[in-house]
């Protein structure tokens, strides 16, 4: 088998390794084919039919995400027939979707909404029965609203292929098709461990992170490293009005991709715990009183200097922390060695 094959997409040639899909080949050329059920880190499924293209020798319209590129293949991605078919697919999805975008957490951040806008779907001509389900929100972490589900299966595949917990899967057939835990139970009580990776994969508001659901649209996202275990997952802190309101992940993180665990995704609210200390405390007559930084630092410096003068530097010790940054650990050991003059520095995780 040749190690490259050449095909033509919209009149331009591209060489790709065998096994490449037409979608991936088009993206190499910078040609944008809209998608909905496709995610680059999951197995292609060809479920939604949004990425339809024409290829010579292929009957009808084919899903670019599952169509293997072939030598000499001639593909068109943007004809009137293709645009009409894609718009119809999206229109049909909208016909079976709540029309309350303003009330949805994903408003202005929704792939279905964006597709409708991109494809010029403004009115829905189909009137008929719509699916009706109660949302599953009986847990502190995830809201699952099957009425907003477009049956793309991204959550099913992420749960099977990435998190490998196999909690979410298809239930029923046809119009009644939906994604649920086994036996159509709520998430709480199923085998779900609330990693929330399905939330990161959902294109609509069908799966939402509760903290963000409640907070509204964030002002900015800041990529950082998780403060819990040693895996070092990267994620985005979502910030609104100077507060961390939630955590999102995507496939670009080097270590974890879109995977996180329940702690990283849902445990960061400790940052805004009402128990946070906000001023230095000094104990006077057995009780803490708030004081200024100037007084507190002055007191610490004076006492340390006094103890060093009276008992020598080795009468002072410090515990550094596996919770603090490298720079802070470096500084504390430098402080103890160069300023206090002792090697009495350790931390609790020295195994």
């Amino acid at each position: 088998m040749a190690d490259r094959l050449t095909l033509t997409i919209d009149g331009r040639q591209v060489s790709v390794p065998p096994g490449t899909t037409v979608l991936a080949a088009a993206r190499l050329l910078g040609i944008n084919i809209p998608t909905l059920c496709h995610l680059a880190d999951l197995t292609p499924e060809g479920a939604c039919r949004v990425c339809l293209v024409e290829a010579d020798g292929v009957r009808g319209l084919a899903a670019a995400c599952t169509l293997p590129a072939a030598a000499g293949m001639v593909v068109r991605t943007n004809t009137a027939a293709i645009r009409e078919a894609r718009a119809l697919v999206v229109e049909l999805l909208l016909a079976n979707h709540p029309a309350d975008c303003n009330a949805c957490q994903r408003n202005l951040d929704c792939e279905l909404q964006r597709l409708a806008a991109d494809l010029g779907v403004r009115a829905v001509r189909f009137r008929g029965e719509r699916r009706r389900y109660q949302p599953d929100d009986a847990n502190p972490f995830i809201v699952r609203d099957n009425e907003k589900c477009v049956l793309c299966g991204r959550c099913v595949r992420v749960c099977k292929e990435v998190q490998v917990c196999n909690v979410l899967d298809w239930t029923e057939r046809g119009f009644a098709s939906k994604v649920t835990p086994a036996f159509d139970t709520a998430l709480d009580g199923s085998a779900c461990v609330f990693c929330g990776t399905c939330v990161s994969a959902c294109p609509t508001g069908a799966l939402a992170a509760k903290p963000l659901y409640e907070a509204g649209r964030p002002d900015k996202k800041v990529r950082t490293t998780c403060p819990f275990c040693g895996v070092g997952c990267n994620f985005d802190l979502n910030v609104k009005d100077g507060q961390v309101v939630g955590v999102t992940s995507d496939e670009t993180s080097a270590v974890n991709g879109r995977l996180l665990c329940v702690k990283g995704r849902f445990g960061i609210d400790y940052v805004h715990s009402p128990d946070r200390l906000t001023a230095p405390l000094v104990k006077k007559d057995g009780a803490f009183v708030e004081t200024s930084w100037d007084e507190a630092l002055g007191l610490v410096a004076a006492r340390l200097a006094g103890i060093k003068a009276a008992h020598g530097p080795d009468a002072i010790a410090a515990l550094s922390s596996a919770r603090c940054t490298n720079e802070e650990n470096y500084l504390l050991q430098k402080f103890m060695r160069a300023v206090v003059g002792t090697n009495n520095i350790d931390h609790c995780a020295r195994t």
């Binding site: 847990n139 502190p140 972490f141 490998v164 461990v193 990693c195 490293t225 403060p227 275990c229 040693g230 895996v231 990267n234 802190l237 910030v239 100077g242 080097a254 995977l259 665990c261 702690k263 445990g267 609210d269 400790y270 128990d275 946070r276 200390l277 906000t278 001023a279 230095p280 405390l281 000094v282 930084w293 410096a301 340390l304 200097a305 009468a315 002072i316 010790a317 515990l319 922390s321 596996a322 919770r323 603090c324 940054t325 490298n326 720079e327 650990n329 470096y330 504390l332 050991q333 402080f335 103890m336 300023v339 003059g341 090697n343 009495n344 520095i345 350790d346 931390h347 020295r350 195994t351």
Partner: protein, 538 residues
């Protein structure tokens, strides 16, 4: 850290997390990644889905133990005997890698002599693991084209923790499973920056980058850079500090970001040590149990409120980026240290953490090529010896160990410091659950607390029946050091005679009953084994 540093010359995960889905054989011992390192747990499940074979050594029926091809349900604290038994079977069957042993290691003969003393029937008597299972595990690990070992605190939090680690290093060297992808010996670090705190020399006997304090040229290098003498006498380790405080030799402590009263073993001794001090300063986000004992408490900013770096379990140095302003009057730890140094007559005038990292890189060979611009996209895995170096996904390439040759260490089995007896007939072992993190999330992380509000003591059904303990009933667990209460969870995840608890919940301060015994080298506490009694406590 000390165990691997002795055997391989470098105390860190040899391989990378990204290699895990491609692993062919995984040997997970004393680790529960699906709960304690969930994303590594997911990567291991990906490997299983792709056909990897899994060996798990764990007294508890964890998720991975249940999924394992071979599950070695050893008695807690008998790891060395188990591993020596594996060495014995591998050598008996000539499954070892003669070429690797000859070219890359030293000390094999002594280890072979010790291993000869651990035939499978003796190992079965010590560990409780049936000999046929041990043979299966040995064959699966040793005859694989490549195989990786993963461990965590189930290996290190023993009086024989360093011995356990060196035994695992022996196993990997015996089979040539070091210095290539999807292999190696991989300690999974429990906290976000354990690796970094060690790397940065927050240790009484090492300067940054594991440069030995005892070497005069190392001390001279730092003294020159810092324009201050570096004392040559090694400092107190953490357990030594509390002993010295009780004796009256230690007068003051500065505790940044830790809560030893809740997190260290034998809490009563820790508290007594801290109460003996003339002066205690704590720097923390919260008024912790430890901070309550302090004379001065300095409010620190959280990770979301400052810039910096953490170094992950796979030696990856990654950026921490400020997202919000410090809460209230709190300040980042690095700024507080700078201000304090200035008041003691030693100005530290860094304008940002990036400037501190530049100094670290200049003085620390394994971090020499690190700079913030280079960390921007995906971080870098040390060693990064120069600015053009791409970082190091796996250590000891082609068996070239950081210390030259890999050192085989003959290790004899020694029982834990405290074993069950007539008065305290149960063995307590401890660990983490998925929904909490050490002592810091309970109550403060409201959603996690709502989902999992309290401790549950795992008790085997046979023991529960004998004690008259129903699932969910109130129980008390007592050791020679203290007594704590929580609800019982009746489950065959623990073997008969063993109870299991986490240590996340202030209402059940498990470390008031754990053992204060510690490893003779690292002085890591033996959290994993102590003798207790348990009773219904309505």
């Amino acid at each position: 850290m000390a165990g691997l540093a002795t055997s391989f010359g470098s105390g860190a995960m040899t391989n990378s997390i990204g290699e895990i889905p491609d692993n062919k054989v995984m040997f997970v011992i004393g680790a529960n990644p699906p709960e304690a390192h969930p994303v590594i747990g997911a990567k291991m499940r990906q490997a299983l889905k792709r056909g990897a074979r899994l060996i798990v050594a764990d007294p508890r029926k964890t998720e991975l133990a249940a999924a394992a091809h071979v599950w070695l349900r050893l008695r807690p604290g008998t790891d060395v005997a188990l591993i020596n038994g594996l060495l014995n079977i591998i050598i008996e069957n000539s499954w070892h890698d003669d070429a690797f042993i000859a070219e890359c290691t030293t000390g094999f003969a002594a280890v072979a002599a010790v291993a000869a003393q651990y035939p499978p029937d003796r190992v079965e008597r010590i560990t409780g693991v049936p000999a046929p299972l041990l043979r299966q595990a040995a064959e699966m690990y040793a005859t694989a084209e490549r195989a990786a070992i993963f461990y965590t605190l189930g290996i290190t939090e023993h009086t024989c923790g360093t011995d356990n680690v060196m035994s695992l290093a022996n196993l990997a060297m015996l089979t040539g499973n070091v210095g290539k992808p999807a292999a190696g010996v991989n300690p999974l670090r429990g906290q976000n920056n354990v690796q970094g705190a060690c790397d940065m020399g927050a240790l009484p006997n090492f300067l940054p980058g594991y440069q030995q304090l005892k070497w005069p040229d190392v001390r001279q290098k730092f003294a020159t850079a810092w324009e201050a003498a570096v004392p040559d006498k090694p400092g107190y380790t953490l357990p030594d500090m509390f002993d010295a405080a009780v004796r009256g030799d230690l007068k003051a402590m500065f505790i940044m970001g830790e809560d030893p009263v809740l997190s260290d073993a034998d809490a009563h001794h820790v508290r007594k040590g801290l109460e003996s001090l003339d002066f205690l300063v704590c720097q923390n986000l919260f008024l912790t149990e430890t901070a309550k004992l302090a004379d001065v408490v300095l409010p620190a900013a959280s990770f979301a409120e400052k810039d910096g770096t953490f170094t992950t379990t796979e030696r990856r140095i990654q950026r921490v980026r400020q997202a919000i302003a410090p809460i209230g009057g709190s300040r980042p730890d690095w700024r507080i240290i700078c201000d304090l140094a200035a008041r003691l007559g030693y100005p530290l005038t860094y304008g940002s953490p990036e400037e501190i990292m530049a100094e670290i890189a200049a003085l620390t060979p394994v971090y020499a090529g690190v700079s913030y611009p280079r960390l921007a996209a995906a971080g870098l895995q040390w060693p990064v010896p120069s600015a053009g170096h791409p970082g190091t996904p796996y250590l000891h390439e082609n068996g070239k160990f950081a210390c030259g040759l890999g050192y085989f260490q003959p290790i004899e089995y020694e029982p834990p410091a405290e074993v069950p007896d007539a008065d305290y007939p149960f063995l307590l072992t401890t660990g983490r659950i998925l929904y909490h993190y050490n002592v810091s999330t309970h109550r403060r992380a409201a959603r996690l607390t709502a989902h999992r509000p309290e401790e549950k003591i795992m008790v085997h059904p046979a023991d529960a029946a004998r004690l008259g303990l129903a699932d969910g009933a109130a129980a008390a667990v007592a050791s020679r050091r203290g007594r704590v209460r929580a609800k019982a969870q009746v489950t065959d995840a623990v073997p008969p005679g063993v109870v299991w608890m986490s240590f996340h919940f202030p209402a059940t301060p498990t470390n008031e009953i754990t053992s204060g015994a510690y490893d003779k080298v690292t002085k890591t506490y033996e959290y994993k084994v102590c003798a207790v009694k348990i009773e219904a406590a309505p």
